[in-house]
């Protein structure tokens, strides 16, 4: 079962499964390292507003909608 990246709590890690839609936003995210199989960890998520994730050693701020479009699977860390 995949969930949206927006549901990942601060400090947790997950594996990217895919995208809700395959448009240009997904393409931009993929270029930044959000590709299936890649590990992401949540740096800051207050449950509302933009959030910060870490992917391949870089911090990326994402709007909530963009985060929701990224599907993930929780991994045990």
């Amino acid at each position: 079962m995949s969930i949206g990246l927006d549901e990942l709590t601060t400090g947790s890690t997950a594996e990217i499964v895919g995208f809700e839609q395959h448009g240009s936003i997904a393409g931009r995210l993929a270029a930044l390292g959000f590709v299936p199989g890649m590990e992401v960890s949540m740096v800051q998520n207050f449950g509302h507003g933009p959030l910060i994730v870490s992917v391949i050693n870089t911090r990326v701020a994402l709007g909530r909608r963009e985060a929701t479009s990224i599907r993930i699977r929780r991994t045990v860390s």
């Binding site: 931009r28 930044l32 701020a61 709007g63």
Partner: protein, 557 residues
């Protein structure tokens, strides 16, 4: 083609010299590419010093920096491409970078990569190697990578990527000469990389189908496989070109193919990351670093919704305080002594001249545009502060914090940066809106940027309020500024709801690692922005002040 992006004649002087292409080549065209925040500008500044020219890419408000570098028998024309994460047409910068590379065919591409975020910054290289041009990689920020526990075997990385990789610490001017040696060598050998990312089998099939379909109609500048892959990725610009060129009979086949692989863009990005991972696996060892990085530590406070806003408010207050504490006395002194002296001298000298001529020079030119120039010291301090915040990596945090408030006005977190620049001067504010990818958010930012109370207007408020309101002046001045900001917000909300009716634009922004400020880069930015402002003052502002003078002088004198 030129209608889609870059006019190929833009850099003619550079191209013509070299177009003969016969040996011995003494003049080389070098494109400097790299993702944002990898130290590309530092490399460019080290190479060209003050020997650089800042213009605009044709038809765009994006800086085009060209510089000269002399290296032994060679003169290198270095073009600093806009920093981009990829070469897909997601933003004007990406379009400019790739159109330049494809239409101008530089002799060599120098790609700057950040060793401390190796995989991510190699992503652009994975795209560059597909353009059929020689590529040399400059592996920058090795010191930071080492500090984070990353050891990179440069020779092995170079072997695995099949391109020369040169170690760099650009901020300390280490490795730059070797990089240029390697670039000159690669340019002379003129061999393009052959080890490229490999796609999933079904995508390879689709790629071949695309190639067959478009081979006869593709403009010559685009490499066939590259264009086919861009179509598979859903690149709107290439798709538009092909749709225009292709025979009517082929159109259904093209459309079917274009829609046959949704998600191919993600698979292709995966293939590029796989290409990177293979190379990195063999060349990089990482010690699990236990220490928390400075960036992580600082961000706990700086990006916190409460403490972060406090930090932001303190920084802004400090910047204003500094601007007024140092800049205002200089401005007053210039106004009283230089401008005052100049207009007295001009009045005395023109004593016998007709009244209108004296008026045009003393009140129009000196009193109008001259006064504007006295604000240059204030602006320089402000520009320096902004450049410093940008350089150390703080600006992206400010944009993140302000995203919610900006969004309420239909803007974007990134709109905050240029709008804040507007407090210094509205001219660079409008120019700075180019960082916003969404066209609607960009237009709206341009529209409301002139409503930001700039230093000159604030100075007028500070000057006029005591004359009318005495002891209540600070309160009135504060109220006026607040009213101004409220008008700005209301205009933003109304325009957004009525004219633009825009959906929310995507918020995707890298928060770069913090690093020590590079005084040289900051000084260059301040210099270039100041020169830009003075040019405006000498042209547009001078013209306007003469018109306003004429309107107030004629017909009654």
């Amino acid at each position: 083609m030129s209608s889609t992006c870059c006019d190929p004649t833009a850099v003619t002087t550079l191209v013509e010299v070299h177009s003969a292409g016969r040996l011995p080549i003494t003049r080389l065209q070098v494109a400097l590419a790299g993702q944002p925040n990898v130290g590309k500008s530092t490399v460019f500044n080290v190479l060209t010093g003050l020997n650089q020219h800042v213009g605009n890419w044709p038809g765009k408000t994006i800086d085009q920096k060209i510089g000269l570098h002399h290296h032994g028998d060679f003169t290198l024309d270095i073009v600093d491409l806009p920093g981009t994460y990829s070469l897909t047409a997601n933003s004007p910068e990406e379009l400019i970078a790739r159109e330049y590379l494809l239409t101008q065919r530089p002799d060599v591409i120098i790609a700057i990569v950040d060793a401390s975020i190796l995989e991510r910054s190699l992503y652009l290289v994975a795209e560059l190697v597909q353009l059929g041009l020689p590529v040399v990689v400059g592996l920058n920020m090795l010191d930071v990578a080492k500090h984070n526990g990353t050891q990179i075997d440069t020779d092995q990385l170079s072997h695995a990527l099949d391109v020369p990789v040169i170690e760099l610490i650009a901020a300390k001017n280490i490795g730059i000469d070797t990089l240029i040696d390697s670039a000159v060598d690669a340019a002379q050998r003129a061999v393009a990389p052959t080890h490229l990312p490999t796609l999933r089998p079904d995508l390879e099939t689709a790629l071949a189908q695309f190639e067959e379909l478009i081979a006869s109609v593709l403009p010559a500048a685009y490499p066939l496989t590259w264009a086919a892959e861009k179509l598979l990725e859903g690149d709107p610009v290439i798709a538009k070109i092909i749709r225009q060129e292709i025979q009517a009979a082929e159109r259904p086949a093209l459309e079917a193919l274009l829609h046959s692989h949704p998600g191919a863009n993600i698979s292709i990005a995966s293939a590029r990351y796989e290409w990177i991972a293979q190379a990195v696996r063999s060349a990089v060892t990482r010690q699990p670093s236990t220490s928390i990085t400075w960036t992580a530590r600082l961000d706990r406070i700086v990006t916190h919704p409460l403490w972060g806003l406090g930090v932001l408010a303190a920084i802004l207050a400090g910047l204003f305080g500094l601007t007024y504490a140092i800049g205002s006395p200089i401005q007053e002194w210039l106004e009283a002594n230089v401008i005052g002296g100049l207009s007295n001298a001009a009045s005395a000298w023109l004593i016998t001249a007709p009244g209108w001529l004296r008026g045009v020079i003393v009140d129009g030119a000196i009193g109008g545009a001259g006064i504007v120039l006295t604000f240059v010291p204030i602006l320089m301090i402000f520009f320096a502060g902004m450049a410093l915040l940008e350089d150390i990596g703080y600006m992206a945090r400010a944009a993140y914090l302000m995203d919610g408030i900006m969004r309420a006005m239909g803007l974007h977190g990134k709109s905050f940066l240029p709008l804040f620049l507007g407090f210094g001067c509205n001219v660079p504010a409008v120019m700075g809106t180019r960082v916003i990818e969404s066209e609607k958010a960009r237009l709206l930012s341009i529209l409301i940027a002139p409503l930001v109370p700039c230093t000159a207007r604030l100075a007028v408020v500070a000057f006029m309020t005591p004359a009318f309101f005495g002891a209540n002046a600070p309160l009135v001045a504060f109220g006026l500024v607040m009213l101004n900001l409220m008008v700005l917000a209301v205009v933003g909300v109304i325009v957004n709801r009525t004219i633009f009716k825009s959906g929310q634009s995507a918020f995707i922004m890298e928060l770069p690692q913090y690093h020590w400020p590079k005084t040289r880069s900051i000084a260059l930015i301040v210099w270039q922005r100041t020169i830009g402002f003075i040019k405006h003052a000498g042209t547009a502002i001078l013209t306007m002040s003469l018109i306003i003078w004429a309107l107030s002088y004629f017909p009654n004198g």
